[in-house]
Structures are given as structure tokens and as C-alpha cells.
């Protein structure tokens, strides 16, 4: 049976808010979230004959997620289309704040410390690095487990091993290191 436009309108009105909220919760600005929701429903409309049974929500969710992934992915792959700004355009410099004189000695110390940390992280296994990166991105254990298709216990184990190895390799660093978002129970 082919869905008619009245049935589609009912679906649109029932689920538009949920789809819009999905984009907003994913960090998309308000007007963009409406655009993406429209795109998702346009795709649903184009494929309305593929809606199985009385419940279109599962199919619509797949379309909305695909729309979001395309949107986020495009931001990484469309740099070649970015607007080019002339660096000698005086208008682009008008509002720049005055920067204080740099402390070269401090900057050199910072660079050396970061280079040392970067080198230590590079010696970790790929699996350990992945866990550290995602935790630095603010993901919880559960989110990391879901993202990497591994168990929460595996996430904790990899993190613990990674931090132990880093501590050993950074032993010469005065003051040691402070792990952002450290779990005190595991740090001991």
C-alpha cells in the first residue's frame, strides 16, 4: 500500500520535534537543526514506500543519523571550499586585541614538556592511545566502550595500563602529571 500525503503529514507532525531535538542535542545550531530535520524528512518522503508497518520511527532514526553524519563529515572534507581571506586585508585586523609580549623562556619550557608527553603517548599501544584520546574528549567509560565496541572493563583496564606506563616514562618530569578528569580511586 502506498502512503498518501495525508498519512505522511501525520508522521511529519508526530516526529518533527523529536528529529529536531536530536540535531540540537548533537550540537547543531537552531536554524541548522531545522534545515537538517527538513532534509531528513525529505529523504523519508522520497523513500516513503520503504516504511515498513505502522511504525516509521526506526526508519526515520536511521535517516536522521545518516543526515547528521553527512553533515558532520562534510565539515571535515569541505575545507577546499572554505572562503579565502586575504591576510593583508586591513579590515581583518581591526578588531584584533593587542597580545602581550611572549615569554620565550616559558614558551620553550612548555614546548619541551609537551614534546616529552607526546613522545611518551606515542609509545603506548594503539588501543591504549584510543582510550586516552576519547577520555580527553570528555567521553564517559560507557561512551568509550560503545564507541570502540569493547567492554567497560576493557576501557578501564586500558586506561589504567596507559597511565601507569606514562607515569613510568614521565618519571623525570618535576611534579609528575595531573590527569584531566582523573578518577582518584584508580589513580592510587
Amino acid at each position: 500500500m502506498t502512503m498518501d500525503d495525508a498519512q505522511f503529514e501525520a508522521i511529519y507532525r508526530q516526529f518533527y520535534g523529536r528529529v529536531y531535538r536530536f540535531f540540537r542535542k548533537s550540537g547543531v545550531a537552531d536554524s541548522e537543526a531545522h534545515d537538517l530535520a527538513q532534509d531528513a524528512f525529505k529523504r523519508l518522503y522520497e523513500h516513503k514506500d520503504r516504511i515498513r508497518g505502522p511504525e516509521p520511527w526506526p526508519f526515520l532514526k536511521t535517516i536522521a543519523r545518516t543526515t547528521l553524519l553527512n553533515y558532520v563529515r562534510a565539515r571535515h572534507t569541505s575545507k577546499r571550499n572554505a572562503k579565502i581571506v586575504e591576510i593583508d586585508d586591513p579590515e581583518t585586523h581591526d578588531d584584533l586585541p593587542q597580545t602581550p609580549e611572549p615569554d620565550h623562556a616559558q614558551a620553550q619550557q612548555d614546548a619541551l614538556r609537551r614534546e616529552s608527553l607526546g613522545s611518551a603517548i606515542r609509545t603506548l599501544s594503539e588501543a591504549q592511545q584510543q582510550v586516552l584520546h576519547l577520555q580527553l574528549e570528555g567521553l564517559s567509560y560507557e561512551e568509550i566502550a560503545a564507541a570502540l565496541n569493547i567492554s567497560v572493563d576493557a576501557v578501564k583496564s586500558r586506561r589504567r595500563d596507559a597511565l601507569r606506563l606514562l607515569r613510568e616514562r614521565m618519571r623525570g618530569e618535576p611534579g609528575g602529571f595531573e590527569w584531566p578528569g582523573a578518577d582518584p580511586e584508580e589513580e592510587r
Binding site: 507532525r13 523529536r18 553527512n70 553533515y71 563529515r73 562534510a74 569541505s78 609537551r114 602529571f177 595531573e178
Partner: protein
């Protein structure tokens, strides 16, 4: 002492290195297959390593939906407005339906926002002849998958003598007027539209006879025109079989 800002700086640097080493993000199909556990072991490892380098994509891949309507509801007026805009976008003559010429002319005139000078003249000359016609409506997507568009150029399978090309305008910056060029790959001179105002529903519709778009690769390019000059806004690659 290694501080939080050190961690963040090194993290950013290592992510940049990872992206540079591993290349572009996985395709959407790969990401969905990864999330569904449908990839081979090697592919799964490759996609996982890439996704770590693009954490925004990981978040999008695992973002949750509201499974009910207990979240903050949109005002009914907003939903009405969005529905009306949506309905305008999908409203089109049914492909394949046989129309009397004056009905077809009226239908095209109703949606026509941008006209291709000489092309339109010739197309209208054809339309003015009593007869039958079957316009084919097509929707183009901006290049680069912008806002859910595809990375793959849209392919047109001609089924009619007249194309109605719908070109959605995504750029939020407003210009005094707009122009659209359509160029074949390697063509020296594009087909150039007259300048037109921005349509209320941000959807330009271009009428082109099939005879002017033989099989090949094309690109529609939208330009914004104002006192500062002409600026390219978006590109819409497509192919005609």
C-alpha cells in the same frame, strides 16, 4: 608539571597527526556498518582508528534519540511553519503525467525562479506549440555532502524532454540577487541564468530542455551578487546519463 592545558595541546596535536596519517573520515556507510558490527576485523580496526581521529563523528554515530515526546515540545506554530515550507519543497508536477501544453506552461511558470535566457526562450518556443509534454523534476544536492547532501553527484536518468532542476539555497547570507551557471565538465562557456531574487522558500527552480544537457558530467554553481561584486556560494555537481 604536566598540566591540563598540556594534555589538551598534546591531544590536539596527536589527533591532527592521526588525521594526517590516516586520511579522510570513513564514509557514512562504513560508520553505520561499524556501529552495527558488520565490518571485517581489518576494516573494523581501520574505521575505529579513523573515528578516534574524528571524535565529532563518533559522537554523531552514538547520539541518542528521544524515544518519546516527553522532551521540550516545539510550539505548534513552528511545526506548522516547517511543514508548510516542506510541503512547498516537495510540491511538484507528477513525473510522467501527460499535461496539456497550457497547463504545463502554467505549472512551470508557477515554480520558475531562475530562467536561462536563450534556453528559456527556446524552451518556451517549444512550449508555445500545442502538444504534450512530461517535465521531469530533479533535486540537486550541494557539493561535499553539506547538510546531509551526498558526496556522490546526483545522476539524472532522463525520462522527459524537459528538466526542472530544483536547487536548494543553504547559504544564510543574503545578496541583492543571485545567478546560476550550469557548466559541463571542461566546457569553456557555461549556460548562464539571468539574475533573480532569492525565493521565499530558498529553492531555485531552473527549467532546461533535455536537449541542452546531453549525457555527461555537469555542475550548477550559484552566485550571490551585491554591491561588492559576485561571489560563488555553492556548487551542485550532477551527471546526466
Amino acid at each position: 608539571m604536566i598540566t591540563k592545558s598540556d594534555w589538551q595541546a598534546v591531544h590536539a596535536q596527536l589527533l591532527a597527526e592521526r588525521r594526517s596519517r590516516l586520511g579522510d573520515p570513513p564514509t557514512v556507510e562504513e560508520m553505520l556498518a561499524y556501529a552495527n558490527g558488520e565490518l571485517s576485523k581489518d576494516d573494523e580496526e581501520r574505521v575505529r582508528a579513523l573515528l578516534v581521529g574524528y571524535p565529532e563523528l563518533l559522537r554523531a554515530l552514538h547520539a541518542d534519540f528521544d524515544e518519546d515526546d516527553s522532551g521540550e515540545a516545539l510550539p505548534q506554530g513552528v511545526v506548522n511553519r516547517q511543514w508548510n515550507a516542506f510541503r512547498r519543497n516537495i510540491a511538484r508536477p507528477e513525473t510522467g503525467r501527460v499535461l496539456q501544453f497550457w497547463r504545463a506552461t502554467a505549472a512551470i511558470a508557477a515554480v520558475l525562479a531562475v530562467t536561462f535566457g536563450a534556453l528559456l526562450w527556446r524552451a518556451q518556443s517549444q512550449l508555445d506549440e500545442p502538444g504534450l509534454m512530461t517535465p521531469q523534476t530533479l533535486y540537486l544536492e550541494p557539493e561535499g555532502g553539506l547538510r546531509g547532501g551526498s558526496d556522490v553527484p546526483k545522476t539524472i536518468e532522463p525520462t522527459a524532454d524537459l528538466f526542472l532542476l530544483n536547487i536548494p539555497l543553504r547559504n544564510e547570507q543574503h545578496f541583492d540577487s543571485y545567478r546560476i551557471d550550469i557548466a559541463a565538465a571542461n566546457a569553456r562557456k557555461p549556460l548562464r541564468s539571468l539574475e533573480a531574487q532569492r525565493p521565499e522558500d530558498d529553492l531555485f527552480t531552473v527549467v532546461v530542455r533535455r536537449a541542452f544537457l546531453p549525457a555527461g558530467a555537469y555542475e550548477a554553481v550559484v552566485y550571490g551578487v551585491d554591491g561588492a561584486g559576485t561571489r560563488q556560494i555553492a556548487r551542485y555537481p550532477f551527471r546526466v546519463r
